[in-house]
Every structure is written in C-alpha cells, then in structure tokens.
Symmetry: C2
Subunit: 123 residues, 2 copies
Amino acid sequence: MQTERISDAEFEVMNCLWQTSPLTASDIAGLVPQERQWSLQTVKTLLSRLVAKNVISHEVDGRRYLYSPLVSRSEYVSGESKRFVDRLFSGRAGPLFAHLAEREAFSEEDISDIEKLLREMKK
Amino acid sequence: MQTERISDAEFEVMNCLWQTSPLTASDIAGLVPQERQWSLQTVKTLLSRLVAKNVISHEVDGRRYLYSPLVSRSEYVSGESKRFVDRLFSGRAGPLFAHLAEREAFSEEDISDIEKLLREMKK
DNA sequence: TCGCAATGACTACAACCGTAATCGTAATGT
DNA sequence: ACATTACGATTACGGTTGTAGTCATTGCGA
C-alpha cells in the first residue's frame, strides 16, 4: 500500500494543509496562490481526490468537513526525492550534485549550508 | 516554445536513444528494460508521441524510420532538476541537500564526490 | 509472382488531471 | 415560512498517459 501519487494541483492544496490544519474547503480556496485562481468547486474536487487517495482525512464539523494531512510534508518530500534521484541519477546523490554544480545552480548561501552540513555529518 | 513534458514511459525510450542513436522502433523494443515488457506497438506509439512533442526526430531509411534525440539528456535533466528543486525546495539547493542528509540518502562515495566538487569549485 | 511479414498510421480505451457545473439538501437570514 | 445560501456528492469534458489493436502498404523470400 505505497502512498498514492499527488498531482501538481493537489500538491498546492497539500501545501496549504501542511502549513495549517485542519482547514475547510473555503479556507483553502482562500489560501491557494493567486496565480492558480481556482473556483471553490475545483478546490473541493481536489480535496475529494486527496481523500480518495488517502493522503488527507476529513472530520465532520456540522455540515462541513475539516481536512487534515495524513502524510507529512517531509514524508512526501522524501518519497519524491527518492523517485527523482532514482530516475535521473541512478539513485546517487553525487551525480546529482555534480549536475547542479555544472549548471551553476548553487548560490553562495547554498554552498555554505552544504559545507556546514558536511562538517556536522563528520562528527 | 519551452520543451514539452516527457512522460515516464517516454523517458525509458529516450534513455535508449540517449545511449545510442539513431535507432529503429524494433531496436528500441529490444533495448527497453525487461520489467517494462512493451509490445512493439507500444514502443511505436511512444515514439510518435515523442516526435509530436518535438523531442526526437525521425529520418526516413527505406520504409522505416531512424530516430534520434533532439534534446540532450543533460538539457532534459537540467530542466527536470529545476522543476524539482523549485517545487519542493523553493529553488534552493541547500534545503534539498539538508533533506537528503537527514534521510541518510548519501553513501560514503557520494560524500567524497561532493567534497571533491566543493574543493574544485573553490578554485 | 504471390503470400507473408514488417512497418508506419490511425484508432481504442480506461485511468488520471485540470477545471469546473449541476444537483440535492440543509442551515440561515428576514 | 420561504428564499437564499453554503456544502458535499455527482457528473462533465477535453487533454495526457499507459498500453495496445487494427489497417493499409510494401518489400522480400520461396
């Protein structure tokens, strides 16, 4: 029973729920980024699909639902990261890093973050 | 005219073409990983879709086509990496790295690769 | 020469996705 | 009490994806 795939649009909804929960459908319609100006109905559809996929739960509150995540952001990010690194870099972080470096995808800040992490890992 | 999205199945076909090209449809049907035992027809459908998406080209050879990539693996990987890091880590490599570290996603080899790259970047 | 095999083109079809509209019901304001 | 509204459920609909089947043609082997 591995976790179901979450689509791009569903992911926006999850981001709201990961930030605050529980939330109603209308709450979420109000929170979703402006560039994706969804109708309330669209948000409700996404919520039902997420419930069907078993990644959020809904608790009855009067005649509304309060939605909460069942999967943490960190769990989700881990799964996606693994998929990504497996698919494009044969599961190895070294080549991923090399690729990002080659494309100059690192800021100064990224680099010092990484150096710090490496020092911590050494201990 | 940004590059079209490539689906998972299509990606397997691209991997064959990135390794060797040009190839015929039958070549590819023979090369594709065993776990995805596609019929020749399936491979042909994927090839037409890739042509329609403008990421491979086909050159006539008698009554067959010889297919070749129009997009390099490295270009593709860059695009996907950017999408991934933007979506899950707000475009910052530092947090990506931190997440991988936390999940113990690095092998010893990865770590020494990365250290080496960092030293080279310093110069 | 004649049938068959290989090949590309077109068609199929269910699941999933983005984006809603509509429907039935129940609470709410007046 | 009645109209309006807020909600969840159901339905819609075109596009993409995975996975092929079918069709028309044509070169090749016997």
